[in-house]
C-alpha cells in the first residue's frame, strides 16, 4: 500500500484526447520521476562498444547516476570518473585537469583499452572548454587508443542536437574509411533484432553480412562496421549517426522506421528490397499471422481496459491505433510530448475516439496518481510507466519496442499481451531494473 507524505491533488491530471493539442498536450512545470527504470541511458549505450572504457567528468551529483548504473551492471572495470569542485571551474585549469585525470586513470589500468569515451558535462560546455584540444592532446600522448568526445549535457537538451542522438552519433566516430564488403549495419538501436524478424530474414536472404552492434564482442568487429555499404536506422534518434557516417564513409542511410501500421511496415520492406536489389518476398502470411495474433489477444482480454505509455514503443499513438482497430479497449496513454512521426495517428484517434484519455508522466501531480488509483489490476498495461500508474501487475514489460519490429514484432507483442493478461508480474521489482536487457545485480 502506498503511503503519502503530505500533498493533495486539487485538479484533474488527464485530459480527453479531444482537448489535447499537438505536440505538447500539457503545460511544462516542475517534473516528477516515476519509478520505471527500464529505459537506457548514455552509460548503457556506450557500453555497447566492445572493450571500450568510459570516463566521466562532472559534478558529484551528476556522476552518481552514471556510476550507479555501471555498478548495477557489475561493469565498474569499464568506467572511471573525476569530479569537479567549486574551485575547479573558474581557474582556467579545466582542460589540463581532464587530460591529467585521463592520464592517471590510464596509468592505473592493467591493460589499455582500444577506445575511451570521454564524457564532459554542462559545466564544461558552459565554461567554454576546448574539447578538441583535449582529444588532440590525449591522442598525441596515447597512440593506439581512440578517444571519443561524448557529452552528458542535459541542460543543453533543447540546444541543438539532443543528448540521445548525439550519443548515437558519437558512438560511431571511431569508424574509419576502409574497403567496403557490401554488408549492412543496423545502427542506433540498443538491441539486436533477431532472426525471426522479416527485416533480418530479408537482409540475410540477400547474402550480405549483417552487422548489429549489440551482437559484437570485440573492438575489431566493431571497426568492421565501416566495411558495410548501408546503415539502416529504425528510430529517428539514430538519424544524426547515419548522416555523419554517410558523409564521412559514404555509407548509404536507409531509414526504415519502427511502425505499427501494416502498410508502412510493407513500405519499409519494399524500400529495403529495392536497396538490396532483391525481389520483395511475399509477406502476406506474416501479415495475416500478426492480425490473427492481435485478434486472439483482444478476444482473451474481452474488453479489459488497456493503458499504454510512451516509453514502451516508438509512435505510441500508432500502436494505440493498431490495438483499437483490432478490438482492444485502449483507454489511456501516458505521454508528455507527441512526436511528429506520430501526429497522423494522434489525429486519427482524436477524430475517431474522442473519449480516449491521455496523461502526462512528469507533471508534479502525477506523484499522487498511482496512490489515488482505486483498483489494483483492473488494467492491462503495455509499458512500465503505464503499469506503475495504473497499479497493475498484468503488464507487457517493454521499453523502446525491444524485440518488436515489423509483423514479427506485432506477433510478439500480441503474445506478450495474452501472457500478461493471464499471468501477473512482480511489478515493483521488474520495473525498477535499469536498462532493459542489461545485466543487473538487483
Amino acid at each position: 500500500m502506498l503511503k503519502k507524505a503530505g500533498g493533495e491533488i486539487t485538479a484533474p491530471i488527464g485530459i480527453k484526447i479531444s482537448q489535447a493539442s499537438f505536440p505538447r498536450p500539457f503545460d511544462t512545470g516542475l517534473e516528477y520521476s516515476p519509478p520505471a527504470r527500464g529505459d537506457w541511458n548514455i552509460v548503457h549505450m556506450g557500453l555497447l562498444i566492445p572493450q571500450s572504457h568510459q570516463i566521466y567528468f562532472c559534478a558529484q551529483g551528476c556522476l552518481r547516476g552514471v556510476v550507479q548504473t555501471t555498478a548495477e551492471m557489475d561493469a565498474m572495470d569499464r568506467l572511471s570518473w573525476a569530479y569537479l569542485c567549486d574551485e575547479d571551474y573558474a581557474d582556467g585549469s579545466m582542460e589540463y585537469n581532464i587530460i591529467d585525470s585521463v592520464a592517471e586513470v590510464i596509468k592505473r589500468m592493467k591493460e589499455r583499452p582500444p577506445c575511451i569515451l570521454v564524457f564532459l558535462s554542462c559545466m564544461h560546455l558552459f565554461a567554454g572548454v576546448d574539447f578538441d584540444m583535449i582529444i588532440d592532446e590525449l591522442e598525441g600522448r596515447f597512440g593506439g587508443i581512440d578517444f571519443v568526445k561524448c557529452y552528458m549535457t542535459p541542460t543543453m537538451r533543447f540546444s541543438g542536437l539532443a543528448p540521445v542522438p548525439t550519443m548515437y552519433r558519437q558512438m560511431f566516430v571511431p569508424l574509419r574509411e576502409c574497403e567496403k564488403d557490401g554488408g549492412v549495419n543496423i545502427i542506433g538501436y540498443n538491441w539486436a533484432i533477431d532472426d525471426d524478424c522479416e527485416l533480418v530474414r530479408i537482409i540475410k536472404s540477400a547474402g550480405v553480412t549483417l552487422r548489429q552492434l549489440p551482437e559484437l564482442t570485440s573492438y575489431a568487429q566493431y571497426l568492421e562496421m565501416a566495411r558495410s555499404d548501408i546503415n539502416i536506422t529504425i528510430i529517428p534518434e539514430a538519424a544524426a549517426a547515419a548522416a555523419d557516417l554517410e558523409q564521412r564513409l559514404g555509407q548509404k542511410h536507409l531509414y526504415l522506421p519502427v511502425s505499427w501500421d501494416p502498410e508502412k511496415i510493407t513500405d519499409n520492406y519494399q524500400k529495403l528490397c529495392e536497396q538490396l536489389g532483391i525481389q520483395m518476398p511475399d509477406l502476406s502470411q506474416d501479415m495475416a499471422q500478426a492480425k490473427a495474433a492481435l485478434e486472439n489477444a483482444a478476444g482473451l482480454l474481452d474488453g479489459r481496459p488497456v493503458a499504454v505509455d510512451f516509453m514502451a514503443a516508438h509512435k505510441p499513438f500508432e500502436l494505440c491505433r493498431l490495438l483499437l482497430e483490432h478490438g482492444f479497449n485502449v483507454t489511456r496513454l501516458f505521454v508528455d510530448v507527441i512526436s511528429g512521426e506520430d501526429e497522423q495517428a494522434f489525429e486519427f484517434i482524436r477524430r475517431s475516439y474522442p473519449e480516449f484519455e491521455i496523461y502526462p508522466t512528469v507533471n508534479s501531480s502525477m506523484r499522487f496518481f498511482a496512490s489515488s488509483e482505486q483498483t489494483q489490476n483492473e488494467y492491462l498495461a503495455i509499458g512500465q510507466k503505464a503499469a506503475y500508474f495504473c497499479c497493475t501487475d498484468h503488464f507487457v514489460d517493454i521499453v523502446g519496442a525491444k524485440d518488436m519490429y515489423g509483423f514479427d514484432g506485432i506477433k510478439k507483442l500480441a503474445a506478450q499481451i495474452a501472457d500478461a493478461h493471464q499471468n501477473a508480474k512482480d511489478r515493483k521489482t521488474v520495473i525498477q531494473h535499469k536498462g532493459m536487457g542489461c545485466q543487473s545485480c538487483l
Binding site: 507524505a5 516542475l30 517534473e31 565498474m76 572495470d77 572511471s80 567549486d86 585537469n97 559545466m123 541542460t155
Partner: protein
Amino acid sequence: MIHYARIISCYTADTSGVCSALYELGGMVVVHDASGCNSTYATHDEPRWYDMDSMIYISGLTEIDAVMGNDDKFIDDVCESAQRLKPKFIAICGSPMPAMTGTDFDALASIIEQKSGIPTYAMHTNGMKSYLVGASQAFEMLARNYCAGSGKTKNAVNILGATPLDISRQEIVDSIWGWLERSGFERGCCMAMGGTLEDLQTAGDAVCDLVISSSGLAAAKVLKERFGIPYVVGLPFGEEYADALRSDIVRAAADKTDIVSCALRGEISDDCDTVVVGESVYAGSVARAFEMQTGRRARVIHTLDTSSELIARADKSIADEDKLEQEFAGCTLVIADPLFKPIVSETAKFAPLPHEAFSGRCFRKSIPDLVDKKLKLEF
C-alpha cells in the same frame, strides 16, 4: 586539483542529502536542475520512492533559462505546483549550473514564500559536495524552524541524522528506538525517518539527543543552543558498545555534557592494520563495537567530509582512490562497502559492509541491522 577514480564508486551529492532528510515531512523539495538528478536520487538513493509519495521535484532547467537568468519560470513553476499540492514547506536546492550562474537562492526563497504564502527555505547546495552537507543543512533548518518544546523535560531521547543514505531501512531506526526503550528512555522525535513534521514540536523536551550520523551534528548543536539539550554521537552497534553508549547517554543527560562516543576508541597506534571505512559516525561506531567485541583495535578511514570532533587518534581522512589504495596496502582487515573491494590488496581480508550512500541499491538487501547485536561481519 584533480579527484579521480579508476574503478570505485562515488558518494551521492548534497542535493540527494536534502531530499533524503526532508522526504517524509510533507514538504516540497525542488532541485533547480535540468534532469537526471531526480531520476538518480529516486532510483539509487531513495528506497522509499516506490512506496511512499513525497513531493521531490526538479525544475527542468534549460540552457537558455540559465543563460538568460530566467528565474521567473522557476518561481512560477514552484508556486503553481505548491498552490495545487499544498506542501507544509518548500525547500529549494541549487545544482551545478545555477552555481555557475550565481543564482541567488535566498532571494528566490523569499519571493516564493511571499507569492505562495508557504514557508520556503534556500538550501545552499551545488551538486559538488557530499550528501552529508545537504542533509546537515536540512536538519539544521528543521532544528531552527520546526523544533519546539513545552519547557518540561521528559526522559526522552531524540534521534538526529537518520536518512536511508546512512541507515538504509526504517527497521534499523525502529531497532534503535527499541534499544532506547529497553534502556529506560522514552521516544523523542526522529530527524527524520518514521515521523512527521509535527513530531518535532516536542524535540525541545528531550533529555538528550542521539546523533546517529554526521549529518545530525549541526542540528544537535542548534538544539543545544535553543533548549540546552546535550548530545551523544554514536550508533548502538554490537552488544558491548550498545551498553557503553547507553551509559554515555545517561552521563550526558546527568552532566549536561556532550559525548562523541563513537570516537572514544582508546589508544590506537598509527600502524593498526584493521580499518573501518566510511561515514564518520557509522564507521566509528562499527570500529568501537569491533574493538569491544573482539578486543582488537580498529582505525577509521573517513572518506567523507567530517568534523574534527568525530576523528579519533590514528584515524585518517582520505577521499581519493589512489591514496586509499596505498592505505589499504598495509592492512590485514578492511571493513568497507563492497565497491571499495577492487582497491583492497588481495592479501587483506575484506569484510563487506554496504553503505547506501556509496553503493546505492546494489547491496541494499544485505545491509545488516547491527543494533544491540553481536557483530556477524565476515572477519
